[in-house]
């Protein structure tokens, strides 16, 4: 009888990697990206990114020269775009760890096609985020105050402060994500080394591959290390954004202080992370010809994760508003009402619209498989998430307890420039990654193709390339 792990077509299951892919073709497809001549479009994109990176340098330089006054932050909103962007970037970083750690533990094999890509994204996003607290302190040469180092008066930072916890949370997250990413890269770096004809490449990739020989023993250690790192990363997925949410929720400010913040922030973070993975993956699929590895099924599954996390975010919005009413507390009710009718109503509409309402379209297969729709929605997801952070940060502070000090936050050109600049930083790093490192985990994807199925003896004929003409995405699924 057939292996129970065969896809059951009667209930809509299809293979993870498109039929026709072999060990050889997967290695070729992915490794070639780093070996062929750099395409012209890459140079164009890289040039644009570098311009924005330069803009970041200018904005940060001006900030350091002139002081935080160049930003729009002012009484009563002492946190503005800086913290908004910090939270936004940190959030985006969450998809990588979720995909590599949590989906790994849940045996979701489809993660193999997208994990490398999103782990890289995580690291670059956390780098962008990490910039903000450093420059936000105003006098950047005192940035070490954030760390648990006593100053010249032997005064330690306040360990009861969530800002302090943030330092620990974010730096741990960055370290573990980097290790996880790098450990996963080792076998693939060795593949690049072995394929290379160029001595310089051989040396560099050989150095980075840490002497990987692909022996059984090496694989055993590798898998053990991978599992341990996944186990360590899993609580990190939850803890980092929970701690970020504590920055707000430990206060007594209506709109900030609410007990659902930790899981709500985590859900939002995963949601925005998947949004950006989707956006970038759609582009990469087109340009680098990896459609047979990142199939429509992967995109659909990512849509479902976004639908889930968006619904959790929607649940949190609903709870916030319900409890604001239910509390009977004047201030709680006031902030809720001001969110909708106050001067920042224009930020609240995209927040709810793009985060809680729009992804509900993913209930329909049409939207999950229509690439244009996916592109638009995935970008709007991150627009919505940016507005969410803006609404939480500015929308809760501009009306404080004393009506006399109410204000209205306006960003300056430097705020905008810094934000655009971090995008430049992100894309510069990301393009370098695409150019020099395998964007898909070659070794892991091979594990999910039929040829690596030890029960495959009853279906040898399907391991050849002959099935290539058959496209499972186009096959109608019974019952759909």
């Amino acid at each position: 009888m057939a292996s129970p792990y065969l896809p059951i077509r009667e209930i809509g299951e299809i293979p993870l990697v498109r039929e026709g892919e072999t060990f050889q073709s997967i290695t070729d497809r992915i490794a070639r990206v780093t070996e062929d001549k750099t395409p012209r479009n890459w140079w164009i994109a890289f040039g644009i990114s570098l311009c924005f990176l330069g803009l970041l340098g200018v904005c940060v330089g001006y900030l350091l020269w002139e002081g935080v006054g160049v930003w729009g932050n002012n009484s009563p909103s002492y946190w503005g775009w800086d913290i908004t962007n910090f939270v936004w970037w940190i959030g985006i970083g969450h998809a990588g760890t979720l995909i590599s750690a949590i989906l790994f533990i849940f045996r979701q094999k489809w993660r193999t096609s997208i994990n490398r890509f999103s782990e890289a994204m995580t690291i670059f996003a956390v780098m962008c985020a990490g910039l903000y607290p450093g420059i936000h302190v105003g006098r950047a040469w005192y940035a070490y105050y954030m760390f648990p180092v006593p100053n010249q008066m032997s005064i330690w930072p306040n360990f009861k402060s969530p800002l302090m916890w943030d330092i620990f949370a974010v730096s741990t997250y960055f370290t573990v994500s980097l290790l996880f990413w790098y450990v996963g890269l080792i076998p693939d770096l060795a593949t690049l080394r072995d394929r290379s004809m160029n001595p310089r490449r051989q040396k560099v990739y050989g150095f980075l591959a840490l002497g990987w020989r692909g022996s059984n023993r090496a694989w055993q250690h590798y898998e053990r290390a991978y599992l341990i790192l996944a186990a360590i990363s899993t609580p990190l997925v939850l803890s980092v954004h929970s701690v970020v949410s504590f920055d707000f929720a430990t206060s007594v400010l209506p709109g900030w202080h609410t007990t659902i913040f930790p899981p709500y922030f985590v859900a939002g973070a995963v949601y925005s992370g998947f949004g950006l993975v989707m956006t970038l993956m759609l582009v990469a699929r087109l340009i680098y010809g990896v459609k047979s590895i990142v199939t429509t099924q992967h995109l659909e599954l990512m849509c479902k994760v976004m639908l889930l996390t968006s619904s959790l975010v929607g649940y949190a919005y609903a709870m916030e508003f319900f409890i604001a009413y239910y509390s009977g507390n004047t201030w709680e009710r006031a902030w809720a009402w001001m969110r909708i009718t106050g001067p920042y109503w224009w930020a609240w509409i995209p927040m709810v619209g793009f985060n809680a309402v729009l992804p509900q379209l993913f209930w329909f297969k049409f939207f999950r498989t229509n690439l244009a729709a996916l592109m638009v929605i995935s970008i709007l997801v991150n627009v919505g998430m940016w507005f969410e952070r803006f609404v939480i940060i500015v929308g809760s502070t501009y009306h404080d307890f004393i009506p006399g000090s109410w204000g209205y936050f306006r960003p300056t050109i430097i705020d905008i420039g810094t934000y655009a600049g971090t995008m430049g930083l992100f894309f510069t790093l990301f393009l370098l990654f695409l150019r020099w490192l395998p964007m898909i985990a070659i070794a892991e994807v091979k594990g999910v193709i039929p040829a690596s199925d030890p029960h495959g003896e009853e279906g040898h004929e399907y391991h050849s390339n002959e099935g290539g003409a058959h496209d499972p995405d186009l096959e109608p699924v019974p019952g759909e």
């Binding site: 057939a2 065969l6 209930i11 609580p235 659902i260």
Partner: protein, 512 residues
Amino acid sequence: MSDDNEKKTEEKKVAVVPKAKPSEKADIAAKNTDKHKAGEYVLREGNTWANAWKFAAGVGALGLALSAAGWMNDPRRFAFSYLFAFMAVLTPALGTLFFVLQQHLTSSGWSVTIRRTAELFASGLIVFAILFLPVWMTRAKLFPWVEGGEAARAEVGHGEAAATHTTAAELAQPATGQDEAPGQRRPQHEPAGAEMTGPGADHAPHAEHGPGAHEPVLNANERGEHGDPEELEAEHTVHLKRGYLNEGFFGIRAIVYLAIWAWLGFAFLGRSTKQDTTKDPKITVGLRRFSCAAVYLFGFTLTFAAFDWVMSLEPLWYSTIFGVYVFAGCAVSAYALLILVTMGIRSSGVLVKEINVEHYHDMGKLMFGFVVFWAYIAFAQFMLIWYAAIPEEVQFFHLRWDHGPWATVSLALIGLNFIVPFFLIISRNTKRRLGVLAFGSAWLFIMHIVDVYWLVMPNFGQDGFNVSWIDLVCLLGVGGAYLAVVLYRMSTTPLIPIGDPRLQRALQFENA
């Protein structure tokens, strides 16, 4: 074979073969039919489990009869004890419904053989529609926001000695800040203090209800007498919530929740047993879709039921995460329950191969995950409320901390519902040693009951903390009635979904 090798093998096994031959496309479910006859998985006459429902029914009947006696004897105690018992049994039952939803949502193969047990337990949710009636009838004694609740208070006031009210009144004081000891608080609350020491039956009852004692039901004279600004403020706040906290809407909501749960329980079991005979794979696809919509219904009904039946016991208190907290308890207790029940069934010689150590390993992992989730949610709720120390919020923890025995229970929840089980079931070894896993599950299930007790009973107020025989008989009554229905149905239904197209995957499942 070392773990690593096992893991690699498994990883490869899950890998897929591209295309089924036209001949292989023949109904895979049909193959299941040949191997699995329905009769094989129905409990036989002589099996202990086939008759277990009679025992449960007996315990339930006895428990409910004694509960009725408790109602006669001490109506207010009964009201709280019964609500505790109702919630303690309802939460794992809802958790089993969540288990079913979860397996369909994720298209799980490994869990198919366990799913039927969960379906059976979820189908028993209809019982709560009847079991809810005493809660509805005693609402005036339970919920301080119920208008006309003073009748209940007068009733209580009679039987109780005035001395006991000191502690109750102490508990009843709204907290003003986390750093104050209860003793320091008194001078700041002159009026409340006066009420505490003042004689007269009409003062005492206010104290009975914990912080919820601040009621909108005082008559004008009483207001004039006391003039307690805090009480007036509280009264006004409760008044502002009237749009939600009123008896009519409360009743309608309860009907909606109970009807939805009963319907979902029936729907999943019904479709699944239909598949036992038809072997139609389309049912699996249909249930996957249905579970998407169902999980929304589940999430919102569970949340608002938690708000209505537990959170509103202290009408001034609120916490946006409270629904999630109750949900976490549902999930942990359901996993514990399913592990224990399936192990029990196995001990009678059925399902020994169908549910094996591989499945328990996975169940253990998920139970472990939800234990950590519970701790995460509980910590988020506690830490944020403690840190901000807003009086309306922090009263919840004062009520569970300022009085010695409740503080012990609070600490026990941290230690025994998180730290001990965390280390007990974190290891692969203990999850695969069924005796240890069963011990851990029983432990967690009992701690879940303690958790529910900790949520409900502090609001009873009298004496701060006391355990009554009524608690126990109510628990036996509600639990017995629910189990009787579930076990009866279990005795007539195949114990695994023999028509499920993924059945083979569960039967051949091996863990990484």
